[in-house]
Amino acid sequence: MRKNNRDQKPGMTRRDFIQKSLLTGAAAIGAGAVFSGGLPFMNTVRMAFGAEEFTFAWISDTHLYPRALNTRFIEKATRAAKDAMNAKPDFLIFGGDLAQLGRAEEFQVGEEILKEVTVKKYFIPGEHDWYYDMGEEWQKRFGKPNWTFDHKGVRFIGVDTISRGPDYWTAKKMTPEERMGHMATLDGSVAGPWAGVGKDQLQWLSKTLSDWPMDKPVIVFSHNPFYEYYPPWNFWTRDWREIQEVLAPYKNVTNIHGHTHQVLYNEVGPNNMRSIGMLATSWTWPYAPEGLPKLTVPMVRVDPGEQYDGVGWGKLTVTADNVSNEYMMWRKKADIFCGDSVSDCSPGHNPILSPRIADRP
């Protein structure tokens, strides 16, 4: 991994970087676990006592179309499933957006691919899974969108940030296809601030944690991040303040989320909850024009002509005192972070942008 100038980023001194890199670090490369030199960095966060060492895998944002339309996304999801199984995880978390347009045929493709994964699988929904039939097909196949279980000293919780979007379709008499189409447009304005947890689920979350010691590790999975990164693309959960409040008494909380399709790290709330954004298998989103957390060491701009560049899955290892995330990014070159030139770095390329015009009333 080549050295870069990330310690010279505005607002972060070299000393800050060294301190923070112990927590945030960078990421490991998944291309056959071949490193170009040096040590792999990881999102390593310290956890309290009590956890027994184990590995689990994360795959999300496969955005599958029917086989006849798009084979690229299928190939990448298949590769992720195989790679994840080779890591011998205790279980797999699927973090949402299995389908692109919420159709049964797309879920079917996803289920067939994920048959490769023979360990226990847990699913949370993404917006692409939900708004064609309001989650009917998804729930039929994968059950409840929120859940909890304990594993080797860690409490795991899956949270639904999807199903409580404001009704933008009834008054406009949209068809299911139209409703889904607006939801599937990341930079559209019609679906509005759909990402949210809701009061009922906040109560459920509070109750779910009430019997858990406050110094023991908690890992919460969600499709959207639990802080405000960039609301126009729903790179947030709109009731993030309430979520952070419910989680605040717990000293060792890590939130792992999808949706943003990019390397992302933050620490938020009074308990410095760690937030780790995971890669998609399908394609990368560029960094938003503003709001990128200062603790994130941004990933390099990917080559759109190379379908495996910038995408992949996540390998998470829990040890006695920490949890480490390795971005298993399929990239030919081992350096996945912004280099010395702004041309390597997506955030430097979005100085001024305007929201789209064609979907405004």
Partner: protein, 151 residues
Amino acid sequence: MKKNLFALAVLVAAGLFGLVMTGSQPALAHMEKHTPDQLQVFDQVFMEQVKIGDLLFHGDPETEKKMGTKLSTTGMACAMCHPFASDNHPHEFPKFQQQISKFATLRDMINWCIENPNEGEKLDADSPAMKALEAYIYWSNRGNVLSPGTH
């Protein structure tokens, strides 16, 4: 005397040549001041193209049909990698473009994206669809500093 006549002839000839080259009026950008109505029409024409470009950029099937284009065969649309037309940086073109290994315009790059990630059919460089896409990309990125040739 002869010298002065010669100088006058040269001046007259130069003046005539200038008139021929620039027309009979002073070389202004337009004849008269634009009226508010005209400006409104110009804006309407521009924004209409921006909207068409926006719809094409987001893979709207009706607009594709109307414009006679096939910008993608994979379900990918331009906006899936470029929400708000980000990471297009039109203000940096023309420049050497690594993917195409040549000195390229924004239109060259649009066609590269159509043909490669999207596996669609490239557009004629001067086609209405290309102009509309270009209008949307420029409009979305307006306010950025013009910086051709940079990366």
